[in-house]
Subunit: 191 residues, 2 copies
Amino acid sequence: MEKGILFVVSAPAGCGKGTILGQILKDEKYYYSVSATTRKPRPSEQDGVNYRFLDKAEFEKLIAEDAFLEHAQYCDNYYGTLKAPIEENLAKGKHVILEIEVQGAMQIRQLCPDAKFIFIAPPSFETLRQRLEHRGTETPEVIEKRVNAAKKELEMKINYDYCIINDILDDAVADFKSVVRAEELKISRKA
Amino acid sequence: MEKGILFVVSAPAGCGKGTILGQILKDEKYYYSVSATTRKPRPSEQDGVNYRFLDKAEFEKLIAEDAFLEHAQYCDNYYGTLKAPIEENLAKGKHVILEIEVQGAMQIRQLCPDAKFIFIAPPSFETLRQRLEHRGTETPEVIEKRVNAAKKELEMKINYDYCIINDILDDAVADFKSVVRAEELKISRKA
């Protein structure tokens, strides 16, 4: 049984990362790495699907046991990526998709030299702004903040292996699949 | 204008490399690197299509001018890969396909660190033997020699970046396209 490949995926908000991954994850050869958190589940959220919901004591016990690949604290809550489900699924031959922001991705770069890093980018900042405006859920100030955050994150893309521009969804999904297939065909993977 | 990528392709005889490349080269984004030679053209061969046919004096003048990426002598004839058409087409943004045997490929590895190396392999030696027998053009002794040569060449594949197994032609062509697309999406290409 050939081991799977760990794909670490980052994208600024509004780049359509969720939609692309939704298409990709239809294929059972992938396992989506679910983050653990101590924040309370929202009504629509399910344990093990959106997050693994843990209480603070459980989370801290797992930190002490070195069970996390990376973890961080935001707004008094812990967030982290558990090692065990990733390792188990890679061993089963599944490709693991790990969705994480750029700082977290760079931590994983150090720890998992075999992982492949994919950055999903908007075709332009103008398109990104339009997409965020189109959602209609954010104020102009928040949109401005998000576009500026995206500009900063985009500078980080040089630390990734691949950049997929999400202009037309089907093309972006096909590009993602090409990256996965090419990585499957790499000789260094088998050596 | 983004530069093209040089793809160096090797395969043992009978792996269907020609058929795969025939499909790939239908797309005008590729330029097929034609070898130069001093051997006489066969009746079916055209200058600039199968080979660039040069006389010995011309070839040696080009050697002296360092015009070749690599060259070698077999059976009193010169064979070589001219630098200029490759560089011109890469600069025009075309991907260059360079078909060459394993020793030549390893020379190019040293000279072109940005080139990507693709090895095309048969699904098994048994399949390779059947394909060669099916051609009906070779004696059993020649087939045995070719299969043994393929075994040796296959050991060289660890020096390549990608290995595409030609079991089903359409899949092998799709794999080749995935490799090219993934290489187009690489961030190191743009950095």
